[in-house]
Structure formats: C-alpha cells, structure tokens
Subunit: 267 residues, 2 copies
C-alpha cells in the first residue's frame, strides 16, 4: 500500500484551479481520474494547497495512498498518458505513510510576473499581467515588498469567501526583480516565500506593489495597509495569469534570522 508524494506542473489557463468543482476541469479531478484506472476504484488526492482558476504551477505537491503496489515510475507514465498536456505529473516518490501534502508543508513559494511595457511577447502573454504604462519604480516596489517580511496579520490581503482560523502568516522572503526584455519592455518578477498564504493573497500583494510602482503610494503605505486589516485598503487583485506556485517545502522553514545563525536547518 504505497503512499506517494506527487509533484505536478500545470498551465492553469484553461483550468478552474486545483480543487475539484461542480463544473469545469480541475487539476485534482484530472489527477484522480487518471489514477483511478490504476487502482480500479476511485482515488482521493490531497493537494498542498488550492490554486485558483487560471493560476499556474511549476511544482504543486499532492499526496495519495494506493492499494496496489505499483512502481512510482509506472505511476508517472500511466498518469501522464491520461492527462492533457497542460497538466504533467513530473515526479512520484514513495514517502512514509504519515505524509500529508497539506498538513506537512512548511513553506510555499509563489512567483508573480508583470510585463511592464506596451507590447507583450506572444510567448509570455498567458503567463504575465501586462502593466503597459508607466515604467514601474522597481526600487520603490522592492522597498514595499521587503516590508511584508516577517509575521503579520494579512487580513488586508485576503480574498472574500474564505474560512480560516487566523489571517496571521509569516513571510520568509519577499523580493522584486526586473529584467529588460528590449527597449521599453521589462519583465518584473515578484517572488515570495512564506509558511502559508491566504486566498488570493499573492495577487492582492502584486496589485498593491504595482500601486507603489506607479508612484500612487509610497512604500511605507504597505504598513498602513497591513495595520488596517481591511481588504479595500490594499490594491486590486492582480490577474491569475501572472501567478505561479513555484514549489512547496517540507523541511523546517528558514527565517532570515535562523538562516544566518544556523544554516543546518536546511538539510
């Protein structure tokens, strides 16, 4: 009865998100349907976290228990033969029976991509949010992004319709990078790693950082937004197309402090 950790990549463009829905194609639904013939019965897959409709993943993680004793490499081949090309099982490994993709996750990393320019590359369009104008102030965005590090109540960055005990989360790193694509066109990447994220939190942060980048708000405004604990204070929810779940960690998370003091926490 192997217990498996599954790693999944998906282009979310045409999907309703991770979670199985009444209608529409979900990653969880596709995986469960692709695993069922291997088992000859219905299978339940537990994801590390939900991603919303249109959000992409480079390495989402899920756990599943199979009745049949099947080689994980066979699982990868068989499942990928049944999945659409937009969803790929990139790895399956046997893990101890107690492993749970969601409860055992210690950190997640998300990336939000902004095309800052007039003409979006045809190859990037499904994977960015276009902010055509003005050229965003990268230094101000980085200043603002850095202020999200640490443990805060992120209620101001929480989408509606959620049911969580607390909106307090710890952000380990929160950084902006910019790369010139060609004259007047830039790709801005926001990468954030934390112990957990609220619904639409990264997209609300991205929308808020762009307000700072436009010069409409100062970097210090981020602290006001956090203190308000009120969604309407922050910027808009940025489009799903720009968001990628980059990966899920299962070792003890690194804080900036712990990392400096004791790098062995990463082993």
């Amino acid at each position: 009865m192997p217990h498996l950790k599954l790693t999944i990549a998906y282009d979310g463009t045409a999907l309703v998100g991770w979670q199985r829905q009444a209608s529409g194609v979900s990653v969880q639904g596709l995986l469960e349907e692709a695993l069922a013939p291997l088992e000859g019965r219905a299978v339940t897959v537990h994801g590390a976290g939900r991603t919303d409709a249109g959000v992409h993943a480079l390495a989402q993680v899920a756990s599943v228990t199979l009745q049949r004793d099947v080689d994980p490499r066979v699982v990868v081949k068989a499942v990928n033969m049944r999945l659409p090309h937009a969803v790929r099982l990139i790895d399956a490994t046997v893990v101890p029976p107690g492993f749970h993709a969601r409860f055992d996750a210690t950190a997640k990393t998300y990336r939000y991509r902004i095309w800052n320019g007039q003409v979006v590359s045809p190859f990037e369009r499904p994977y960015v949010w276009q902010v055509a104008w003005p050229p965003l102030d990268i230094a101000a965005m980085q200043d603002a992004a850095g202020r999200l590090q640490g443990t805060h109540d992120f209620a101001a960055f929480q989408g509606a319709g959620t049911d969580v005990d607390t909106s307090v989360r710890t952000i380990f790193s929160s950084d902006i990078q910019a790369a010139d694509v060609r004259h007047g066109e830039r790709l801005i990447t926001y990468e954030v790693r934390g112990d957990g994220f609220l619904r639409q939190m990264v997209r609300a942060i991205a929308g808020t950082l762009v307000e700072v980048g436009r010069g409409r708000r100062s970097p210090a405004w981020i602290e006001e937004v956090l203190a308000s604990a009120h969604r309407a204070t922050a910027g808009r929810t940025a489009p799903a197309s720009g968001l990628f779940l980059v990966g899920v960690d299962y070792e003890r998370p690194q804080t900036a402090e712990a990392g400096t003091q004791n790098s062995s926490l990463h082993v």
Copy 2:
C-alpha cells in the same frame, strides 16, 4: 512616404507560416490586413524569409512602404490592436527607401529546441521537439554541429518543392547547448547563424544531429551527408514546433575568421 522596417514576433502554433496562403492564417496576411486600414488601401509587406507552418519567430523582419506619413509608434499601436495576441509587431523604424527585408539581409539566426526526457513541461510543449529516450550524446552532437560551419552545398538538407539557384550556403556558427531542467530531463538548444537557409534546412539539420546524439551515427557522418547532396542521406525533418527564427542581421555578417581578424566588421 515613409519606408519602414518592421520587427515581428509570433507563436506559429496555429499559423500556416509567414507567407500568405490560399487558406489558413499567415503572418504576412495578418500584417497586411492590419496595415491596410491605416492606408485606406491594400499594402504589401516583404518578409526577410518565409517560415513554415508551425514555426515561431522572436524577431522576423519585414519591410513596407506607406503612402501616409505616420509616426512609426502609431503604426506599432494600431497594428497590434488589429493583430491576434499570437502575433506582435514589436518594433517599426524608418529606414532609407532602398531597404528590402529579404535582399538586404546578411545573416539569419535560427534556434531549434529539443526536450530530451520523459515528461515535457506544460509551458515548453508547444516550443520543443520531444526526444524522450535515450539521453542524447551532447559532445557528439556538438562535434557534428561544428562540422557544418563554413561554406558547403546543403542540398542534402533541403526540403522538396523549392526553386533556388544554388544550395550553397555559408554557416557562421553552429552550436549545441544543453541545460538540465530536473533529474533526467534536459533542454537541448541548437543555434545556427548563416548567410541564408534552404527550405526546412534547420529542421533537417536538427533531425540529423539527433541521429548522432542517439549514437546511431558518428559525428563524421555529417561530412558524408553533405558530400552526398541527397536529402534521403540525412536525418528526418524535425517538427516545426521546436524551431524559432531568432533574428535577421543587416550589417555585414561575421565569419569566424573575419571576427578574429577584425572585430570592426560588426559595427
């Protein structure tokens, strides 16, 4: 009467190629239709070279003469509003009246991308040729690729149905690179720059280099293929999805020798 140099990027997946066809959507057709309303009459666009159905371009070049005296930045905006997102006019600049995108081109660069592994990333699938197995011999492929440099008769790498005076071309550089994506999965990139390319030449070269990479042929076989001047001697024509026209040069081309002796040729 401005004469313009247009630079165009396109995702060729759903296109019949550069050239206007009796049926299907072509890049030339889309551009001409997007330019016509600016002029109030039909317009003819001259491309640097044809790309086949399914082939992509990062920076194809075309030339066009307009009757109306319109700011090139306005042309970019107006044309992109009428183009599908898979095709983007990324630049328009005024050039001397004599400029012709095809006749004045001194070099072109193509890139061919091979996914060498079992599980193709959903984000790469439309832009690669998957060679699942075996792991290709990169050193042998590079050895073979290097033997294409210089001036040769490329008749053995020419697709059927062409009508050109000569199949002799000069290749300035011809190189293989490989990058590990994750365990057991690699992205292999072949990049070739030359003074001109025959129909399906880069795809025939890619198919031939993969034969060497599989170990079915030695790198020296490339010289036999060239000498044969017979298409059936070389490897298969690799799929269009992996091919990108990277760019077109209009300065005097660099040869390896000239580059070493006199770098001012690049100005």
